[in-house]
Amino acid sequence: MKKSKIYPIIVSLCLLACHASLAQAAESQTKVLRLATTTSTENSGLLRDILPLFEAKSGYQVHVIAVGTGKALKLGQNGDVDVVLVHAPAAEAAFVKAGYGVDRHAVMYNDFVILGPANDPAGVRKSSSAADAMRRIATQQSVFVSRGDDSGTNKKERKLWQAAGVKPAGDWYREAGQGMGKVLQISGELSAYTLTDRGTWLAFSNKLPLQIVFEGDPALFNPYGVIAVNPKRYPDINYAGATTFINWLTSAQGQARIGAFRVAGKQLFIPNANSDTAQAGSKPKTHVH
């Protein structure tokens, strides 16, 4: 009698497990492309907007692993992903030079902005350059929240400190070790300064008590590149998929989709696969709207 009460539970548990293994078998039949990318492309909603079209066209299913640029390149180096989409030109060049990646292409750019509390205690609004802005923050020892995770943004930030001739250390310099979104929230809570890509800022701007206190310096240019993991290092890597993805991303259609992506009515990324503005150092459009 009572047996009947417990057996249905056990049977349904077993069915669930079977369902799980069947579902996995089905999944392994579709072609999977593993993309390691930065938190900015994922958190801003860009990939969610453009990837369905690529998946429908190519038949690939893209598995997005959103981490910092440093980690993304590491995943590519270790052969744990097929293709990377990152924003750190120097690190990307080193990645290709070391033979970890091939077929690097420029994809798009936006720019970094320096955020701070509305009352701007360090007087960053009066800065003449990005380096000057960083120097003012350091001099005033105003709280600055760093990504601290070797991401593209973090690399850019370190370059700016270097340009400012400042070694950031001390109570005012907080390394969060988290993604861009989280760092923006921390900065908001602490009324701190921070460096962010404009895309993530626009996605968060209505949720934060912070403002842009500095923008427009060419040193804040933020170009994104896509790189296939070198198939010579990992013969069974999905190089065909990576190539298809790179071709689509830099095609007229892919570029148009990137350009058409809006958050709160504002354009976040400017496609530049077919122009030479991809090279670091050239002057970006400072106004992305």
Partner: protein
């Protein structure tokens, strides 16, 4: 910044409106954790039985080891398997990193010690007498094992619930081994972490509610069974 009550209201709307993405995440969570606990249960309980039934050298050490594993942080388990499963790792050829299988492996490693330790505690209380009674009455070994398990079923069920509770709510290992891939390895805890970092609190709260409701239902079922006494057939 939205208020907690407003976020909670939106969360309930999200849950009730049958938001596909949300329910996919919930489905993945349950599939992965159910599979993990089902795979782990039999070997873990047999280990627990062996530990309580036989006196062999190294037995105490094993018990101590399993108790130690209870308190290993999930991120350490995640990191260990990450290193093993990465393409550069010993098991790299399996290409399992960032798959559901990798998450299942991590979760098995997490719930196994709980099942062994709690199972062992439960079995210890009744094992010897139940076993001997069964054998005296002429039961074979398998039959006797079954009788012992019947005798301590509530303790074992509690072990299962505790193990399941740990892995379904665990974020560190799932994030590292699964990679938080949408519609594939994004489960309830990793989604909560992501949505919080994006400032989307309502989806995080919705998923948190699901975990709470699940914990409540499972415990309610356990208490219901215990209350009834569920006599041996």
């Amino acid at each position: 910044m939205e208020s907690l009550s407003e976020a909670t209201r939106q969360a309930i709307v999200l849950l009730l409106s049958g938001n596909t993405e949300l329910w996919t995440i919930i489905g993945i969570s349950f599939r992965v954790s159910m599979t993990a606990i089902l795979i782990a249960t039999v070997p873990a309980l047999l280990t627990a039985f062996a530990l309580s039934h036989w006196r062999f050298p190294g037995r105490r050490l094993l018990i101590t080891l399993f108790s130690t594993f209870l308190s290993i942080p999930a991120v350490v388990v995640g990191l260990t398997f990450y290193i093993l499963l990465s393409r550069q790792g010993i098991l790299g050829d399996w290409k399992l990193l960032f798959t559901q299988t990798a998450m299942i492996i991590g979760q098995i490693a997490l719930c196994f010690p709980i099942l062994v330790v709690m199972g062992h505690t439960a079995l210890q209380s009744a094992e010897r007498s139940a076993w001997e009674t069964a054998r005296t009455l002429g039961a074979g070994s398998l039959r006797a094992l079954y009788m012992v398990i019947r005798e301590v079923r509530f303790g074992l069920l509690a072990a299962l619930l505790a193990g399941f509770g740990r892995i379904i709510a665990e974020v560190g290992a799932s994030m590292m081994l699964g990679g938080n891939i949408l519609n594939y390895t994004r489960n309830i805890p990793t989604a909560i972490a992501l949505e919080t970092s994006k400032g989307e609190f309502s989806q995080g709260i919705a998923l948190g509610l699901v975990l709470l409701i699940m914990a409540f239902s499972l415990n309610a079922v356990l208490h219901q069974l215990q209350g009834r006494g569920l006599p041996v057939p």
